[in-house]
Symmetry: C2
Subunit: 477 residues, 2 copies
C-alpha cells in the first residue's frame, strides 16, 4: 500500500508547524465532516469510504523519505521533523456506519484530537468520503431507475484514474450495483465481476457467426453475446439465435445478448420478439450505451425489454455532478483546558456552521420503521422517549412536528478512541446489505429521482440557541 501520509494540502503542514511553534499543538480541537448539498439534486447522500478512512488513519506515518522531501522544501525546521517522526494519531473519530443515508449539514464524521493531528488528516478524509459517497449515491439513483433490474458498473476505462475505477466500483456496489467489470476491484473487495466479449472479439473472426460459435464453445454456461458489431436485428440476433439453438441441442441454457449502441428501446423490443419467437423467452437482454438514471428511467417508460444494465462513464464519474462538496470544519477548540464551541460565519447564511461537540439522532416511526426526521444535538443532550418529541425547522421555526410513538437511533459510532481502533471492521457485503436497509428505511417520496421531498434535519433547541447567540455576538463585534 502506498503511504498516503503526504496525501494532504501543504497548508495543513505549515499550520501544524505553526501550532507547534505557538505551543498549541496539543490543544484539543473538534472538526466535523459534513456536506451542504446532495449530489444530482437527490434528497440524500449514501455515505461510503469509511473503511478506507480507517485504513488511512491506521497507516499514518512519516517515512524517512517524506522527512527528507519536506526538509528540501526549506519551509520547516528539525523540531517539526522530530514531531513528524513520532507522529501517530491519538485522537477520537466517530462516524456514521458506512452505507448510511445522510442529509445536508449533518456531521457524518467527527474528529476530536490534538490540533497537530486533526489538521493533517482533513484532506485525505474528505478526498475518500467525497468521492465514494458521490458514486454510491449516483449508483443508488441508477438502481432506483432500473427498478430491480441488475445494474453493472462498466466504467473503469473512463474513471478518473486507477483509484477512481477501483473505489468507484466498490462504492457503486454498495449503492446497489450487482457487480462490476473491474477485475481488480472484484479481487480487492469480493465484488461479483462480469463481462464476456467486446467488438474486437467479433471483428477478430471471419464472420460474426463464427465469433459467436467460438465463444459458445468455450463458455457454454455463460454465453452472453454482443450483437451490435454489424447490424443488431439483421445479423447479431439471428446469429445469436443460431448459436443458442446449438447450445440448447447440446443441453446448455444460453445466457443472453448485449446491445451496446443504437436505439435501445426499439432494438430491445424487436430483439425480444425475435428471441421469444425462437423459444428463448428466458435469455437476458443487457443494454450498455452511454446510460444514466435518466436514460434508464426513460427507457423503462418506453417499455424497453432490457433485463440488465451496464453503466459506465456516467456512473463512475457521476458525470451530471462530478464532485460532492464535503467540508471539514472546526466546531470546538480547547481553551484553558475546556472545549469551547467555535463557529464559522459567512455572508451566505447557508455557509454558517453548526457549532459545538454534536451528535445526530434519527427519529423513526414506531409503526413502520420509516425514518421521519433527524435531529442534530449537542453531545450531552438526551431525549426522553417517554415524552412526545417536538422538532422545528431551523429557519422557518414555526414549522413544527411532534412525534408521539417513535424510537431513535444515534448515528455516530466510535471508530477510534484515544487513537485505538474500536470499530468492528465490515466487509463490503455487510456494508451493501446495510445500505440496502437504509434505502428501504426512506419513504419512496425521498428516493424519487426528480424533485424528491426534502427530509427534515432539525437542530435541538439548545443547539439552535447556541448557534444564534454565537452568530449574534460575532456580528455585534
Amino acid at each position: 500500500m502506498r503511504n498516503h501520509t503526504l496525501l494532504t494540502d501543504l497548508y495543513q503542514l505549515t499550520m501544524m508547524n505553526g501550532y507547534l511553534k505557538n505551543n498549541i499543538a496539543d490543544d484539543l480541537v473538534v472538526f466535523d465532516v459534513f456536506f451542504r448539498k446532495n449530489p444530482c439534486d437527490n434528497s440524500f447522500t449514501l455515505i461510503a469510504g469509511i473503511e478506507q478512512v480507517i485504513d488511512y488513519i491506521e497507516n499514518l506515518h512519516f517515512d524517512e523519505e517524506d522527512i527528507t522531501y519536506l526538509r528540501n522544501t526549506k519551509l520547516f525546521d528539525e523540531d517539526f521533523f522530530e514531531a513528524l517522526k513520532n507522529f501517530k494519531f491519538t485522537g477520537d473519530i466517530y462516524a456514521v456506519e458506512e452505507g448510511s443515508i445522510m442529509f445536508p449539514t449533518e456531521p457524518i464524521l467527527r474528529v476530536k484530537a490534538r490540533c497537530f493531528e486533526a489538521q493533517l488528516i482533513e484532506t485525505a478524509i474528505l478526498n475518500i468520503l467525497n468521492f465514494q459517497s458521490l458514486i454510491a449515491t449516483k449508483a443508488a439513483r441508477v438502481c432506483e431507475a432500473a427498478k430491480g433490474d441488475a445494474v453493472f458498473e462498466f466504467g473503469l476505462r473512463r474513471a478518473q484514474g486507477p483509484d477512481a475505477g477501483i473505489y468507484g466500483a466498490r462504492a457503486a456496489y454498495i449503492g446497489g450495483c450487482a457487480g462490476t467489470s473491474n477485475v481488480l476491484a472484484g479481487q480487492m473487495f469480493n465484488i461479483p465481476i462480469t463481462g464476456t466479449m467486446a467488438h474486437s472479439w467479433v471483428q477478430k473472426f471471419d464472420c460474426e457467426l463464427e465469433a459467436f460459435r467460438a465463444y459458445a464453445k468455450i463458455y457454454p454456461h455463460n454465453c452472453l453475446l454482443l450483437v451490435d458489431t454489424y447490424d443488431t436485428l439483421n445479423s447479431g440476433i439471428p446469429n445469436a439465435i443460431k448459436v443458442f439453438e446449438e447450445l440448447k441441442a447440446d443441453g446448455y441454457v444460453p445466457t443472453g445478448v448485449r446491445i451496446d449502441s443504437g436505439d435501445i428501446a426499439y432494438l430491445s423490443k424487436e430483439a425480444r420478439k425475435l428471441l421469444n419467437a425462437a423459444g428463448f423467452t428466458d435469455v437476458k437482454i443487457i443494454a450498455s450505451s452511454d446510460l444514466d438514471e435518466d436514460t434508464i428511467y426513460s427507457l423503462k417508460m418506453q417499455e424497453a425489454t432490457v433485463t440488465g444494465w451496464g453503466v459506465g462513464t456516467n456512473l463512475i464519474t457521476s458525470k451530471s455532478c462530478p464532485a460532492l462538496g464535503g467540508v471539514y470544519k472546526l466546531v470546538a477548540a480547547e481553551e484553558n483546558g475546556e472545549l469551547v464551541p467555535k463557529i464559522k460565519i459567512s455572508e451566505n447564511p447557508e455557509k454558517i456552521t453548526n457549532p459545538g461537540y454534536k451528535k445526530v439522532v434519527r427519529i423513526y416511526d414506531e409503526a413502520n420503521q420509516h425514518a421521519q426526521a433527524d435531529l442534530i444535538m449537542l453531545e450531552d443532550e438526551t431525549i426522553d422517549l417517554e415524552q412526545p418529541l417536538t422538532v422545528f425547522h431551523p429557519l422557518y421555526t414555526w414549522k413544527k412536528k411532534t412525534f408521539k410513538k417513535y424510537h431513535i437511533r444515534e448515528l455516530l459510532v466510535p471508530l477510534f478512541e484515544g487513537g485505538k481502533l474500536v470499530y468492528e471492521r465490515k466487509t463490503t457485503q455487510q456494508i451493501k446489505a446495510y445500505a440496502t436497509k437504509e434505502l428501504h428505511s426512506l419513504w419512496p417520496e425521498y428516493r424519487r429521482l426528480n424533485r424528491p421531498q426534502t427530509y427534515k434535519v432539525d437542530l435541538s433547541q439548545k443547539l439552535w440557541d447556541l448557534k444564534h447567540e454565537m452568530v449574534k455576538s460575532m456580528r455585534d463585534e
Copy 2:
C-alpha cells in the same frame, strides 16, 4: 506500487482465454487509441499520462494471488493460468510525446502485439490517458483564461479518489499550472507545492490579528494571509496591513493575501486600493473560490486585481466535462501471416474507425512554426517535401489546401519495441516544457476558450480510399 495487472475489464480476460483456446492468441493485432471529441468544446486535447502507461506496461505480471483469485471465479482453466504466469508484454507501442496537442480521430497511441497481450492492456491504458489528458486540457483552458497569472491546483479534497488527486495534480502542472497544494504529488513528480493557512488557523486564535502575527513570526519570508474568515475589507485586509508593516519594519518583504469567498471582482479591487494606499503595491492577491476558466475570464474582464488563482474542484474533476471518451479500436489483424486492415462500422458515420496501420504527420508553416494541419496516413506512405502537399477534408472533399513552404513532423514515436522499452523517459518538467511549446505552436484562434477554430485533420488519399472501399464492401454484404 500496487500491481495493476488486474486493473482491467473481465471481458479482456474471457477474450484472452478465448483466443488461447482458438489457437489465435499469437496472432498479431493493431489497436489505435483515439478520441472522437475534445473535452469542454475545446479545439484540442493535451495528451498526458504516457509515463504512467510506460510504468504500467513495465510492471505487468500476474502474481500468484491473482491466479488464485481468477481460479476461484471458475471461468478459466489451468492452461490459461499457465499462460498468465508467463505473461510478459512482447509487442510494440508507439505514442505521441507526452504533452502533445492532439485532435479528434488521430491515433495517440498504437499497440501492435499478440492479441493475447494487446487485449489485456486496453482498459488501463484508456483509464490512464483519458483522465490525465482530460485534466491537462482543462488546466490549459484555465491557464489560458488567467493570461499568464500563476494558477495553482487546489482540488485534492474533491478529487475522485487519491490517484485522481495525485495524477490530476501532475496533469494540471503539465497543462500549465504553476504548482499544487498536494504534497504527495509534489514529492512524486517534483511539482512546486504551495499553501499557507486555512480558516481553522484564524479561528484557532483569539482574534484574526493574533493569528496573522503568529503566522508572520514563523513564516516571515512566505507570509500569505487568508483574509476572509470574518470580513475581508473591514477586518482581514486592515489586519494584514498591520502585520505587513511589522514585517517590513523587521526587514522582510510580505508575500500577499488570499481571498476565498465573496465577490472576487469587488473585493480584489478594494483590497488592492487599501494595500496600495499602505504602500504594499507588490503584495500578491490570490483568489480561490469555486473558480474555473469561465469565472476567471469574466473576472479578468471585470478588471479584478487578482495576481494568482487557486483552482480546486472544477479543475481536478474537469467538472464541466468530467470524462474524455478515448477508445481503443482494432485497426488491423494478422491473417495468414499478414496484417490486414480492420474497420468498425456504425450507423453513426462519426463512429466509423480509420482502418489500417497508420501514422500521424503534422504540417508546419515554414515561415512561423505554427501547426497548419495534421494528416493521418498509412505507415508505409511518405511525403516528398520537394513537392507541394495538398490535403482535403475527409467529408467535404472539395475543401482543399495546398502547402508549398512547409515542414512536417511524425507524431508517433516508439515507446516499446518487441516488449523492450526504447523510449527515453521524461521528467515532469521536460513534459511541461514540451506542452508549453506545443500550445505555442497553435494559432491563438485554436486556443480561444469559446467557439475556437476547428483544426484540420485530414486523411491521406490512400487511407481515404481504403476506408471508403472497406465501408462500401461491408455495406454491400
